[in-house]
């Protein structure tokens, strides 16, 4: 080589006298998918084409001019993007496990009947359930919100603070109610323990630690089951209560351990803001109203029907179990509506498909809950644990309408419509209370009206594609 080439005399490897046609062919994928001539210009440059090289080969003044020619020449036939990962994938065992986790504490109630004999027991239990449902709904909302933001450690932080605050609230509320209802110490301890378990288990469930909830439940559930199977021998009563107490302690302990480990050293002041509390309020309100609707029949039942006995709560068991099914159906509804969004071009068509899916979801929930009710009845009626009042057709139908209403409310909550379910539920509860005072028994009518109202509202809201933004 006699004289070194200089940076300034660049030419392509050989003057490639090719037609633009050939270049279009080479860049056909880019041209077909391009949204603007500049996108083709970028691709040409990326491939090493400079203005200089293009001038030599095609006589185009620059990359941009040639890109425009190519954009015009090749019609748009973009490739579809590859299928996206399914955000709502779930396994079938998870909802079943959740059903089990929600339902199994029922055994503990039955075994603890001896503890809850004193005055004011049912009041304390009902208040404890109401408070802890309200708090755990609010807590779960905050937790999921932070999990959704994708910032590691943030969900744990907010859960830890909310858990501490929730435990304090449960303790305070139960203490006050126990004094007012002149309940004994065992009842107070049971109420606090139940509330604490609910909060601890909620934290663990939000964090996806089902196994730890199972671990926490096992001593109480196994102890209680053994106690019941042995025919409630009185000498084992205290031992059983000891195993029962292990469950809330474990649940709270595991929840604290899991959150504290992830949190690390942080400033406590910034953990739970006023905005957070305000955001959690509708969810907490929903927990309270849902609890009110479910417990109202128990609270107003006459002593002859087993009121005052905690075993009346067994009547709620089918609905408790059905919450696992509700979670699964929620995911089913999400996946189906996402699919419908990708396959429809018209908003009206989408709206009617979404409404059909909503109806299908509610119907599936109803069928599953009826099956669960039948199963529970088969077991409970045989063992005579439940007063026949709770197994009348009317009572079962009442619970089914409330269950469906709660399912629709959960769907609405999941699509960020949280206020209307609370208002509707509160109104229904108010009507039920008013009717009860006037000695009218029309819980089933109220339940049906509530269901119809919520379903109509859901059909309106969930028909809007904007709600389905993922």
């Amino acid at each position: 080589m006699s004289s070194p080439p200089r940076a300034t005399d660049i030419s392509p490897e050989s003057p490639r006298h090719r037609g633009v046609e050939e270049l279009c062919e080479e860049f056909v994928a880019v041209c077909e998918s391009a949204v603007h001539p500049l996108e083709i210009a970028g691709a040409l440059e990326f491939d090493g084409w400079t203005d200089h090289a293009l001038r030599n080969s095609f006589g185009a003044s620059d990359v941009f001019t040639l890109a425009e020619v190519m954009y015009r020449r090749v019609p748009r036939r973009p490739a579809e993007p590859p299928p996206q990962p399914d955000l709502w994938r779930t396994t079938r065992w998870r909802p079943a496990l959740h059903s089990l986790l929600y339902g199994s504490p029922a055994v503990c109630f039955t075994a603890a009947a001896g503890l809850l004999a004193g005055p004011g027991a049912s009041t304390v239990v009902i208040v404890s359930l109401l408070v802890s449902w309200a708090l755990s709904q609010g807590l779960a909302y905050l937790g999921y919100l932070r999990l959704g933001s994708g910032v590691p450690g943030q969900a744990e932080r907010v859960l830890l603070t909310a858990l501490s605050a929730g435990l304090t609230a449960v303790l305070a509320a139960i203490s006050v109610v126990s004094v007012v209802a002149s309940a004994g110490m065992p009842v107070l301890v049971f109420g606090v323990a139940m509330g604490s378990y609910m909060l601890g288990a909620t934290v663990l469930l939000v964090l996806g630690a089902e196994r730890q909830v199972l671990l926490a439940l096992s001593p109480g559930v196994l102890g209680a089951t053994a106690f019941l199977l042995l025919g409630r021998p009185s000498h084992l009563e205290h031992a059983t209560w000891a195993t029962l107490s292990a469950t809330p302690l474990l649940a709270v302990g595991l929840a604290l351990a899991r959150t504290i480990r992830a949190v690390g050293p942080v400033r406590w002041a910034k953990l739970l803001s006023v905005t957070d509390v305000r955001k959690a309020l509708p969810s907490a309100g929903f927990g309270l109203v849902a609890g009110g609707l479910l417990l109202f029949p128990v609270a107003v039942a006459t002593p002859a029907h087993g009121a005052g006995s905690a075993s009346a709560l067994l009547a709620l068991l089918p609905l408790t179990l059905s919450m696992g099914a509700a979670e699964w159906l929620l995911v089913w509804f999400r996946r189906r509506t996402q699919r419908a969004m990708r396959s429809t071009h018209n908003l009206r068509v989408f709206a009617s498909r979404a409404r059909l899916l909503l109806a299908a979801a509610v119907l599936q929930y109803l069928i599953m809950t009826m099956l669960l009710t039948a199963a529970v009845l088969a077991v409970v009626t045989g063992s005579r644990m439940l007063h026949p009042h709770w197994t009348t057709l009317q009572q079962i139908a009442t619970y089914l309408t409330i269950g469906c209403s709660l399912f629709v409310s959960l769907l609405l909550n999941a699509f960020d419509s949280r206020i209307v379910p609370v208002i509707a539920g509160t109104a229904a509860l108010a009507v039920e209370i008013a009717c009860h005072i006037r000695r009218l028994d029309n819980q089933i009518c109220v339940g049906m009206v509530l269901l119809a109202a919520l379903a109509a509202y859901a059909a309106a809201v969930l028909g809007s594609a904007a709600r389905h933004a993922s």
Partner: protein, 497 residues
């Protein structure tokens, strides 16, 4: 200064540049506005004392509505804007003129005076005014907005068409625009000058400051933001209509930023082509080359014993190591004692590329002559490890690795992309990209001629010290800031360059 996904949360060329400017100008107070993902990214740079930081997350939980009386975005006498009308106008500005229709293509040329651009500017200003007082995010994610976009699309494709967007596309497109526009909901920064480190979404806070406080703006550019977005486009998980709307938004935003900026300060002359194409006024473009601190890169004293090619950078497909490796295989055949040393590591997610490169080395049978040295903190020694320094990239802005190597007195062989020819000038060899044969030729020429190498090396260092020092970059920005803060137009010097 405004950054997007770079300083102070990420490492890389743009971050180095930001850090150099802020540290190099202790006489100025910098307020850094960093557009980030979720807002939880850790700050990985030590911020200098003259710099404060605001982060604007584009993702995660949307910004809350401003409280009444908190912001002053409303200009006196401005008419009330109805949100759905605003969304309608935004959609019209983004979809029109329809590029699909070839006869209309000519109208779509990006002339700053076109109707389309001024309409986009008006809409963006209205969106800003609205976002300062109310919740823009909720407007853009409303049922109404989805319906407006759907209808607009249906007007465009009244019949079944392959491009026909789905309901999902409408929702996705609006979500993207909502995230992009989040900076408009934040209170504009008050400063004497806003400096946008890269065009694109970073221009939004600068435009906001301009509208609110009449702050002059400088737009810098390393790679071309828009070009990089287009190159990235095939990997976006969206359908065509969504991409068209999203990239159309970014294109119009970039064009508007060029139009509104008092000064455009690209890091190389090559960038001007794209800037002018997007309607930038050539008189306002003032190239400011990246610079290095010569104290960190002293003249290398001696060459390695064996003829060695050194490469320094991120192991990334954009660096086109395939060409370098194929070229080296040719070099090795002619000059069996030649060695190739690659310094650098792959960024997260690019590890398979490194593996591919290693496999290629084995296939080419040059295992004994090629060494992957991994990441090095002693970059200077990496340049000195080579008799020459190579850069085979398919896209570059104004690569630090070249000007650092030149400052060390190393001759470079590089591909003709971005600002490479401007950096090397006639102190090294530049060859077309993706051309191993030419690349090998250039390497062999230099490796085989010590005298030529020495001549180039001295020239390279002289050139770097003259044009590409940090001091020279800083004094140029000092001058620009001074003129803009005093509201004087910058004297035109570009013609002389």
């Amino acid at each position: 200064m405004i950054t997007e996904g770079t300083y102070p949360h990420q490492f890389g060329g743009v971050s180095v540049w930001c850090d150099q400017i802020i540290r190099g100008m202790p006489g100025y107070d910098f307020h850094l506005v960093a557009l980030v993902g979720t807002g939880s990214e850790p700050v990985v740079w030590d911020l200098p004392g003259n710099c404060s930081l605001t982060t604007i997350p584009l993702w995660g939980i949307p910004p809350a509505s401003p409280r009444k009386g908190q912001r002053g975005g409303h200009r006196a006498g401005q008419r009330r804007v109805f949100p759905s009308r605003l969304v309608h106008r935004l959609i019209q500005a983004l979809l029109d003129p329809p590029l699909l229709d070839p006869p209309l293509l000519d109208q779509a040329k990006l002339d700053p005076s076109t109707h389309a651009q001024s309409r986009f500017a008006d809409v963006l200003f209205e969106l800003f005014s609205y976002a300062q007082q109310a919740n823009l995010s909720s407007v853009l994610s409303s049922t109404r907005a989805v319906r407006l976009l759907s209808e607009a699309w249906q007007d465009r494709w009244p019949h079944a068409h392959q491009l026909m967007p789905t309901v999902h596309d409408a929702v996705t497109a609006l979500q993207l625009i909502e995230h992009c526009l989040r900076p408009l909901s934040h209170a504009p920064v008050q400063a004497d000058v806003t400096h946008v480190s890269t065009n694109g979404l970073g221009a939004l806070p600068a435009l906001a400051a301009k509208w609110q406080h009449d702050t002059p703006m400088v737009v810098s550019e390393h790679g071309i933001y828009l070009r990089e977005q287009y190159l990235h486009s095939p990997s976006l998980p969206y359908r065509w209509a969504v991409k068209e709307l999203y990239l159309g938004f970014l294109r119009q935003l970039c064009a508007l930023a060029y139009h509104e900026a008092e000064t455009i300060a690209p890091c190389n002359v090559y960038n001007r082509r794209w800037e002018e194409r997007l309607g930038a006024d050539p008189a306002r473009i003032r190239t400011v080359y990246n610079g290095v601190d010569p104290a960190n890169f002293p003249m290398a004293d001696r060459e390695p014993d064996k003829p060695t090619i050194s490469w320094v950078g991120r192991i990334d497909p954009i660096k086109d190591l395939e060409t370098l490796l194929s070229a080296f295989a040719i070099v090795h055949e002619e000059m069996p004692q030649a060695r190739l040393r690659l310094f650098g590591s792959p960024p997260k997610g690019r590890e398979p590329y490194l593996e591919r490169c290693k496999e290629m080395v084995t296939e080419l049978g040059i295992d004994d002559a090629v060494a992957f040295e991994g990441h090095t903190s002693k970059v200077r020694e990496a340049y000195q490890a080579g008799s020459i320094v190579a850069l085979s990239s398919v896209s570059e802005g104004f690569p630090y690795s070249l000007i650092e190597a030149m400052t060390c007195g190393r001759t470079c062989v590089a591909t003709d992309v971005g600002g490479v020819t401007e950096a090397i000038g006639d102190t090294g060899l530049v060859v077309p990209p993706r051309n191993p044969a030419r690349f090998a030729d250039a390497c062999l020429t230099l490796l085989g001629d010590e005298e030529l190498r020495r001549k180039y090396a001295a020239a390279a260092r002289a050139r770097a010290l003259e044009f590409f020092t940090i001091d020279s970059a800083i004094s140029k920005f000092d001058e620009i800031y001074g003129f803009l803060a005093a509201r004087h137009p910058l004297p035109s010097v570009e013609a002389a360059q």
